[in-house]
């Protein structure tokens, strides 16, 4: 490649001929934002986000499609470029009618990710849900009981008009309670101790939360609490029937348990604690003192005895531990907020005869939570609306006698938006009462200010005009730079969740202060909102969702409430929680964490308000079982359209209309299912937003997941995958930039075939069948039984089977287990049983996949490659697209789907005869590469020549179902093109045909050449490993064939000579082509052992079952069809004690076979045997036409078999559904 000198941002750099500016810049570590560019595709240049400036060129140039030239001077960032990118993004988001986050999260003062934790709750991941909540709210069990739930008001489920939004708080409470009970309770580990100390004044929700966030940053916190117990308002204000003290204690404990804090009780700042002390001992102070004072009623006589502030009334009981006795008394509660509710419901519990709530507006205007009002009425509280106290009348002792009220009417709305109450003259009336509880409001009491300011050296703390602590509203820093404040003392009386939000902010500011950083407000985050375009109305939802009423939480019956027992009882069980979770619409975007549009819009401070105008609205299309299309989110980068045509070659998607009306749609306006869509999911991988995403069957969150890289365990191509996992649940599968799939492409099987991993019916215990029933046994018991069964004499012979999906290490150990077995030993894999061992040579001299782009002509023999080995198909059809290389399909199936993509299709009636005829033609016309043959195949060539010339050419052609010129053309095209390759799959061909293909490649001198010869594709991820490990009958280790065409074991089976079966990772019964016959094999068995993930049909016949671990639960290696050993790590533990390797080693240890204790030792032992790989056994093989005796579908693998069936049936069912 020619080098090109370029000036990039003023620096001379070296580029390569043909390189784009984007590629060059990225090699030099300069990231240029782009939305429409995908390295897998031809440059397109539509988004215009990647623009750069080039000296001497007009305007700005898209860097993705502009190739570098000698001497080019490129600037990748300046004001003009920034502005252009920003405008491009402003324009894109101005037509992006979509929500990044759901209204629930947007509305929550603390920004709790409701949609995320609902998704986790759905999967039973309660501690993970709590962990997510605790990122911003350390008191979920408390909030799950007492939060005012603005989220539920904002919930779009309300638009269904079924009564209520999603029971968000119920779910939060359910998860939190489960977590508190759990042995694996969420316990984060704080950062290493910073050495900084913070004094927090007040152990209410604000102070406690501040302590949580500061500790997590490694700061030590001393909390000073005026009361004898922690919780503040939670304990001293909220009655126990709503929030049991036990819950407060547990959550306080979880905060203290972080280990960097301590609460000092009965310490009140300004009384028995002086700022002098704090100043000397702490690096910073947080004031979280709350609003401690009650607002008086403010009418004549409010100084009477038995008139209490509501707050004092509630607090007194908690402090003294004594309940008031209101027996025979009448209580009037004044006010309409939640404190009023606590007062009236507590009064009922104190046995008052009558409890009135006096409120000057109507019920509609009451600020109290409607549920509270509802419950209070159930409990017997009476309401007097439009009623205000005018005068309190005392008796001689100064005690309350009655209250004179005045009726009100509602006038014009006031500043709060509520209609102002106006007294009606002359409407006075008296109510006799014994107690009055004034729940009108609270105020901040801060008698310590002088104490602070007296000793302060960093500025003064002061009160604002409302009497609250004066702070910078964004940073919550007071006038004293080391003092921060949060909660009610700053905001005035507000909610728990607001106090928590403030505590987090104050803790962040404090942390920034402590670490010497600038105290700054949060960075800009772009958030797309549907509400920016239009108000959401019921019609937008009612037609699209099924109505489902809220599952209300059970409560104590009203007649059992004359006590302080908790009224709300929590959801009954997991199923109820899942049911309620299912009501969530998932308004927030599934790509919240990964969306490129959001990322760039954030970086360039784009806004939806900036270039507002007309926008497009679409219905989301769910008709495809795996692929969901949401055109609202589409930015028309056409990556989906292009990957579908350029790489997959399906042309299932296209652009419709022009200009602003353009949109992406399945071709010809059909449903995606009716197009040539291959359901491969490549479009999803290309989409930079969530316009095309996976149509999942669970709530996708989004939640932050962990990537686990592993090798795909479907076909033999060997793609590297990235499982996105949380706990043991796989959220999605992406392609990794693997050794084989270097551009991260994967297929439908990898992309959508992961549900089995999340399947809760997985086997997790060794089990033994007793009297027809399964019984869990210990691993050790199971190992002993297996060892004994291998060792002991049995009525017949023993046979061990290893599946083609197992790792090399597992196969190696199974071949070791075979050494234990007594008597005649039989080792095989059902996947190749009876098919002969000539397949062993297929992969020895394959053209490497990455040489496909260098081929000049491609023949596909039989395989529906885009379905059977799609990632190789992508390589082929991308090559065809980019370089116009002809692809010829030779097939027995005239409906072969590849014929639509192939440049030419030859329909034949016999692969074997077609290839053999070609070989005859080569030899009879002396077209063979004699030099090559003389060098490598001298001996076998002449034998082969003599043999094949003895065949009847006319008969071969006739059986092949072609004309002689077809053979002639084929041979010429294959032989004469230096870089031609035949691609075939073992699945469709028998061993004899494969041998003849090898013969053709040898005769033409192509075998083993670069970008010429053959590519053979095996069915399973480690089919090749079966040969390498000597598992296939008739092979020794590393593909050395001991005896061609070996079928001894099958004969024995048929003669019922096998009595003990040890089957690892195969399901011969479930995958049998002739199920009746295969069933019979096992019916009279003495002992059957099966190791698998699930209760397969074969497992049901077993006596003993071992649970199987997943590849990434074990680690190891697969050998792909190119004989590349692809290693993968152990990333998670299996949901049981022993992974497969551990199981095999344990059994071997019982037999005294030692020396291997870990997977690495297993690996190194079999690698030692690499040295023993024999001489090249390749030779021209003389073959006979055989009947294909393939016995099992999908290489006898349960997972592959299940996927094939499910995949096809889902697609089919969906089409039928559409037609109805």
């Amino acid at each position: 490649m020619n080098q090109i000198n370029v000036i990039l941002n003023g620096k001379p750099v070296i580029g390569y001929d043909g390189e784009s500016i984007l590629e060059l810049a990225s090699r030099y570590g300069i990231t240029i934002p782009t939305l429409c560019h995908d390295p897998r595709l031809e440059p397109y240049s539509s988004c215009y986000v990647c623009v750069v400036e080039i000296e001497g060129m007009r305007g700005l140039q898209p860097s993705c499609s502009t190739k570098i030239n000698e001497g080019m001077k490129i600037t990748t960032d300046n004001q003009k470029i920034y502005k252009a990118r920003q405008t491009a993004l402003n324009l894109l988001v101005s037509n992006h009618y979509a929500d990044c986050v759901a209204p629930c999260k947007q509305t929550c003062p603390a920004g709790v990710d409701v949609q995320g934790y609902i998704s986790l709750i759905e999967k039973g991941l309660y501690s993970e849900a709590v962990a997510l909540i605790k990122e911003v709210n350390p008191l979920p069990a408390v909030c799950g009981r007492v939060c005012v739930r603005p989220c539920e008001v904002a919930c779009r489920r309300n638009l269904m008009e079924e009564g209520a939004g999603v029971g968000i708080d119920y779910l939060k409470r359910f998860a939190s309670d489960k977590d508190l009970e759990s042995s694996e309770r969420y316990r984060p580990i704080p950062k290493p101790a910073s050495g900084k100390r913070v004094a927090i004044i007040g152990a209410g929700p604000g102070g406690l939360s501040a302590a949580w966030f500061l500790q997590l940053q490694g700061h030590y916190c001393d909390i000073y609490e005026a009361n004898p117990k922690a919780g503040g308002w939670l304990r001293y204000g909220i009655p126990e029937y709503r929030l049991p003290n036990e819950i407060i204690d547990k959550e306080v404990n979880a905060i203290l348990e972080l280990g960097l804090s301590q609460i000092h009780y009965n310490k009140k700042l300004g009384e028995n604690l002086s700022y002098k002390n704090l100043k000397d001992n702490y690096d910073a102070v947080i004031l979280a003192i709350g609003s401690q004072g009650s607002t008086p009623i403010g009418c004549e006589g409010d100084d009477a005895f038995n008139v209490f502030g509501g707050v004092e009334f509630l607090r007194n009981m908690e402090i003294t531990g004594q309940r008031y006795d209101f027996r025979g008394k009448t209580v009037a509660v004044i006010g309409g907020g939640n404190t009023a509710m606590d007062c009236c419901r507590t009064s009922i519990r104190c046995h008052a005869d009558n409890v009135y709530v006096l409120y000057r507006r109507t019920e509609k205007e009451m600020p109290a939570n409607p549920i509270e009002i509802h419950e209070s009425k159930l409990e017997g509280v009476e309401y007097m609306f439009l009623t205000a106290p005018k005068r309190i009348n005392k008796d001689q002792e100064g005690k309350v006698k009655s209250i004179t009220c005045i009726k009100m009417e509602l006038g014009e709305p006031d500043a709060s938006g509520r209609r102002r109450p106006i007294p009606i003259e002359g409407s006075d009336f008296d109510i006799p009462v014994d107690y009055i509880l004034a729940a009108i409001g609270q105020k901040t009491v801060a008698p310590f200010i002088d104490d602070i300011n007296n000793f302060s050296e960093n500025g003064k703390v002061s009160l604002n005009k409302w009497g609250d602590l004066d702070v910078n509203p964004k940073t919550l820093q007071t006038g004293n730079s080391k003092i921060f404040a949060c909660g009610d003392a700053v905001k005035g009386p507000a909610t728990v969740i607001e106090a928590i939000q403030q505590a987090r902010r104050a803790a962040l500011s404090c942390h920034q202060f402590l670490t010497g950083q600038e105290i700054k407000v949060e960075d800009y985050e772009f958030i797309s909102k549907k509400d920016n375009f239009k108000k959401q109305v019921p019609e937008d939802y009612k037609t699209k969702y099924v109505s489902q009423k809220r599952h209300e939480m059970p409560t104590l019956p009203a007649n059992k409430r004359l006590n302080f027992d908790e009224v709300e009882l929590g959801y009954e069980n997991d199923e109820v929680a899942v049911l309620e979770a299912s009501r969530c619409f998932e308004c927030g975007c599934v790509e919240y964490y990964t969306c490129d549009l959001k990322k760039h819009a954030t970086a360039y401070q784009a806004s939806q308000e900036n270039l507002k105008g007309d926008f497009k609205q679409f219905d989301v299309k769910f008709d495809h079982p795996f692929i969901e299309i949401d055109n609202n989110k589409c930015i028309l980068c056409a990556r989906c359209v292009r990957i579908c045509s350029e790489v997959v070659g399906a042309y299932a998607l296209g652009l419709v209309n022009r200009g602003f009306d353009t949109f992406v749609a399945p071709s010809l306006g059909k449903s995606l299912l009716e197009t040539e869509c291959e359901s491969c999911g490549m479009c999803i991988s290309a989409c930079p937003t969530a316009a095309i995403s996976e149509n999942v069957t669970f709530k996708p969150g989004p939640v932050r997941t962990e990537p686990i890289n592993s090798i795909c365990n479907y076909c033999s191509v060997g793609c590297e995958l990235e499982y996105q996992v949380k706990k043991n649940f796989v959220w999605r599968v992406n392609g990794a930039f693997g050794h084989i799939n270097q551009d991260s492409n994967i297929c439908a099987k990898a992309k959508f075939g992961y549900n089995y991993i999340n399947d809760k019916s997985r086997i997790t215990h060794p089990m033994i069948k007793e009297n027809g029933n399964w019984k869990n046994i210990s691993f050790n018991e199971a190992f002993k039984i297996i060892y004994n069964k291998l060792k002991e004499k049995s009525t017949g012979e023993k046979a061990l089977f290893a599946g083609a999906r197992l790792s090399n290490e597992e196969m190696y150990l199974i071949s070791k287990l075979y050494e234990i077995a007594d008597g005649e030993k039989n080792l095989a894999s059902f996947s190749y049983l009876g098919r002969g061992n000539a397949f062993a040579e297929n992969s020895l001299k394959n053209v490497s996949f990455n040489e496909i782009p260098e081929t000049k002509r491609i023949f596909i023999l039989g395989t529906e490659i885009n379905y059977e080995h799609p990632v190789v198909g992508y390589m082929v059809f991308n090559h065809q697209f980019k370089n116009n290389v002809p692809v010829v399909l030779i097939t027995e199936d005239k409906n072969n789907s590849i014929s639509k993509k192939a440049d030419k299709t030859i329909v034949i009636s016999s692969y074997y005869n077609f290839i053999k005829a070609a070989n005859y033609y080569v030899v009879s016309n002396n077209l063979q590469n004699q030099i090559y043959l003389d060098q490598h195949y001298k001996e076998s060539f002449y034998k082969y020549r003599d043999n094949i010339l003895g065949s009847n050419y006319d008969e071969l052609i006739k059986k092949a179902g072609v004309n002689s010129y077809d053979i002639e053309d084929f041979v010429k095209e294959y032989n004469n093109n230096h870089n031609s390759v035949i691609i075939f799959s073992e699945k469709n061909l028998d061993a004899e045909t494969c041998s003849e293909i090898m013969n053709l490649a040898i005769l033409t001198g192509k075998l083993g050449k670069s970008a010429a010869g053959i590519i053979s594709l095996k069915e399973k991820n480690n089919s090749e490993g079966l040969f390498n490990m000597g598992i296939v009958e008739g092979t020794e280790k590393f593909n050395v064939i001991s005896n061609y065409g070996e079928k001894k074991l099958l004969d024995k089976i048929k003669l019922r000579k096998i009595s003990s079966w040890f089957i690892f990772g195969e399901d011969p019964v479930g995958t049998a082509i002739n199920k009746i016959e295969i069933n019979e094999w096992f019916d009279e068995a003495e002992f059957i052992m099966v190791q698998d993930y699930f209760m397969t049909e074969t497992a049901q016949k077993a006596n003993l079952i071992l649970p199987a671990s997943l590849p990434y639960e074990t680690g190891g290696s697969f050998t792909n069809t190119q004989r590349q050993i692809l290693e993968f790590e152990k990333a998670l533990n299996p949901p049981f004690e022993y992974c497969n390797i551990g199981q095999f080693l344990s059994i071997l240890h019982l037999a005294g076979i030692n020396g291997m204790d870990s997977i690495d030792e297993v690996k190194s032992e079999f690698f030692k045997q690499f040295g023993n790989v024999g001489v090249n056994s390749n030779q021209l093989r003389i073959t006979e036409e055989s009947v294909n005796i393939k016995l099992f579908e999908n290489a006898a693998d349960y997972i592959s078999n299940k996927f094939e069936k499910d995949f096809k049936s889902k697609l089919k069912k969906q089409i039928e559904y559409e037609r109805v």
């Binding site: 405008t87 270039l611 007309d614 200009g659 353009t662």
Partner: protein, 592 residues
């Protein structure tokens, strides 16, 4: 006496005006009365404003009759054909005496249109008799090399007539220099500008000149296949092209071993475009020919390197090709003697809008806009005040009255902010609102955007929304600046010419008529009294005679009033159609 010849202008313009009927009438009388004269069809004669046109050539000279109908043609046949006496009052042009329309013809130099309206386009021999196919033969007979042909075109100074103005000879040279086993010639006949019909007229009136031009280009670069990409809305052009191609094949001018030269293969087919404006852009055009969605791609690679089917391709427009045979036959100097230093030769313009004589004119480069409008075009309809001219269609810009002395050449026009474009000239008078005009063109480009680039797809939409709200009196302070900002960004950040030029009408109108924008935004007034939401029609009680004409004609019954009483217009109901204004004979309707 030679046989009398009667030509009927049967291009689309003529047909639309009823020329087919006239032709049929002449034919019927001729056959009925067994008259002896030659009746022939020809292409666009140019005076579209006088269609239908019939030309009679006898031994005294040529007489062009305009605005012919059944009655007039009968009279002309009776007098002129039968007795040889021209009917003077219908003659719009003759060499024999002066005519009021003569200034339309003076200053015209016909090169591209040399055969239009002269020959029958459906008869190859007529083209040959007019010197057709002699240019190719000249090349073959004299063994002129490819390089020499290219040099001749370079020397002629011919620049692309489709709008870009790139030197044609250089384009050919690039394609010639690209090595490939296959090369293509494409004729861009996707004429899409509103108000432009030059290419259609050439294709309908002289298709062989295009075929010959393409053949010469094919020879020069070494192409074997030609494609004429013609919009499907030009059925007559397509029909005549196909006839011409078939005739040329029969004559051995297309196909294998053409002109008897062994091994020289070149054939042409017509590809019908589906009418997307953007397909006039060459990369989009090629995508469309290949059967893909017509969307532009980034250049380079230029078509000369990687074009149709990724092979070297040369694309020129119809008018460019029509000039080629003339240049090759007559030498570069015959062409470059016309024009200015950097813009040689002639250019065809389509005159439309508020002009007296709309039609097709071919003038030497360098003539002033004023001369075209006033000398050739006869000035403004109704002798209203000339306000501006829109040049270059939706990609172009407007040139105001005070710049009317600007000579038409590529660079002078570009300096005003407009572009030469393909030659559409839309003339506007004082009643044209410039904001509304900009809105009209932007509406066109916005809808015709292929939807690929962000700026063109959404940016033009936003500009259009702003223009619409300005026209509706809802403009805000800052809108002009926002329009300008968006306009420059769209120009800077669009892939193809459509997006890069779409803001031109807006930018030039803001440049020259900023006060009109400001009047809409600040005073909520449309100075041209054209924007419906900003005007009101009221009755002047002093002038109203109560004749009831306005009330009778009002389509929405917004006008009430007793006979002989002053009438009243209900503003709530009025749709501002202006019918009352135009119907009132007493100027009693006020427009404000």
């Amino acid at each position: 006496m030679e046989q009398m010849k009667v030509l009927v202008g049967l291009a689309s313009c003529g047909i639309a005006a009823g020329a087919n009927k006239v032709y049929d009438k002449i034919l019927a009388i001729k056959e009925q009365e067994k008259l002896n004269f030659e009746l022939t069809k020809t292409g666009c004669i140019g005076m579209c404003y006088r269609e239908p046109l019939v030309e009679i050539i006898d031994d005294t000279g040529s007489y062009l009759y305009g605005e012919i109908d059944d009655v007039k043609i009968t009279e002309i046949i009776e007098k002129h054909i039968k007795t040889g006496e021209p009917v003077k009052e219908y003659i719009v042009k003759t060499d024999l005496f002066e005519n009021e329309d003569d200034s339309y013809w003076k200053n015209q130099v016909k090169i591209a249109l040399r055969n239009c309206g002269v020959i029958n386009p459906e008869v190859i021999e007529e083209y040959e008799n007019a010197g057709g196919y002699l240019a190719v033969k000249k090349i073959l007979n004299n063994n002129i090399s490819q390089e020499t042909v290219i040099q001749t075109i370079i020397d002629s100074g011919l620049r692309g007539r489709g709008g870009g103005g790139f030197p044609t000879g250089l384009k050919w040279k690039f394609a010639f220099n690209s090595k490939s086993d296959e090369k293509y010639i494409i004729c861009n006949a996707d004429e899409g500008d509103p108000g432009a019909f030059m290419d259609r007229s050439v294709l309908e009136g002289d298709p062989h000149s295009v075929l010959e031009g393409m053949t010469i280009a094919a020879y020069a670069i070494g192409a074997t296949q030609g494609v004429i990409y013609c919009r499907a809305e030009y059925p007559l052009a397509i029909k005549r092209l196909n006839i011409a191609i078939e005739q040329a094949r029969t004559k051995g001018y297309l196909g294998k071993d053409i002109y008897g030269k062994k091994g020289w293969n070149f054939d042409i087919y017509v590809k019908e475009g589906a009418g997307a404006f953007v397909c006039g852009e060459e990369t989009a055009l090629m995508a469309s020919v290949e059967g893909r969605r017509g969307m532009p791609r980034k250049r380079p690679p230029f078509p000369a390197v990687s074009g149709l089917w990724k092979k070297p391709t040369n694309i020129n427009n119809v008018e460019t090709f029509a000039n080629v045979p003339y240049i090759v036959l007559n030498g570069a100097q015959s062409f470059n003697k016309y024009g200015t230093e950097k813009s040689k030769g002639t250019k065809v313009f389509a005159l439309t809008g508020k002009i007296k004589r709309g039609g097709l004119v071919e003038v030497p480069m360098g003539i002033s806009i004023k001369d075209i409008i006033f000398k050739l075009g006869g000035g403004i309809q109704g002798d209203k005040k000339f306000k501006a001219v829109q040049l270059g269609g939706p990609s172009g810009g407007c040139i105001p009255d005070y710049l009317a002395e600007t000579p038409v050449d590529y660079d002078s026009i570009l300096a005003t902010g407009a572009i030469m474009g393909s030659g559409g000239m839309v003339v506007m008078d004082e009643t044209t609102c410039m904001v509304d005009m900009a809105r009209f063109f932007l509406d066109f480009t916005q809808k015709e955007s292929c939807g690929k680039c962000t700026f063109c797809r959404i940016g033009t939409k936003r500009m259009l929304e702003i223009l619409t709200r300005i026209c509706e009196g809802e403009g805000k302070e800052g809108d002009i600046e926002l329009l300008e900002e968006l306009a420059y960004q769209i120009k800077d950040s669009s892939l193809c010419g459509l997006g890069q030029t779409a803001p031109n009408p807006v930018l030039t109108t803001i440049k020259y008529f900023r006060n009109e924008y400001e009047a809409h935004i600040r005073d909520k007034k449309c100075p041209a009294k054209s924007c419906k939401k900003l005007i009101t029609y009221t009755v002047n009680p002093e002038k109203c005679t109560g004749c009831t004409v306005c009330a009778k004609n009002c389509p929405v019954n917004a006008i009430s009033g007793e006979r002989k009483q002053v009438h009243f217009i209900d503003q709530e109901v009025c749709i501002k159609c202006g019918v009352c204004f135009s119907k009132c004979k007493f100027e009693a309707i006020n427009l404000s």
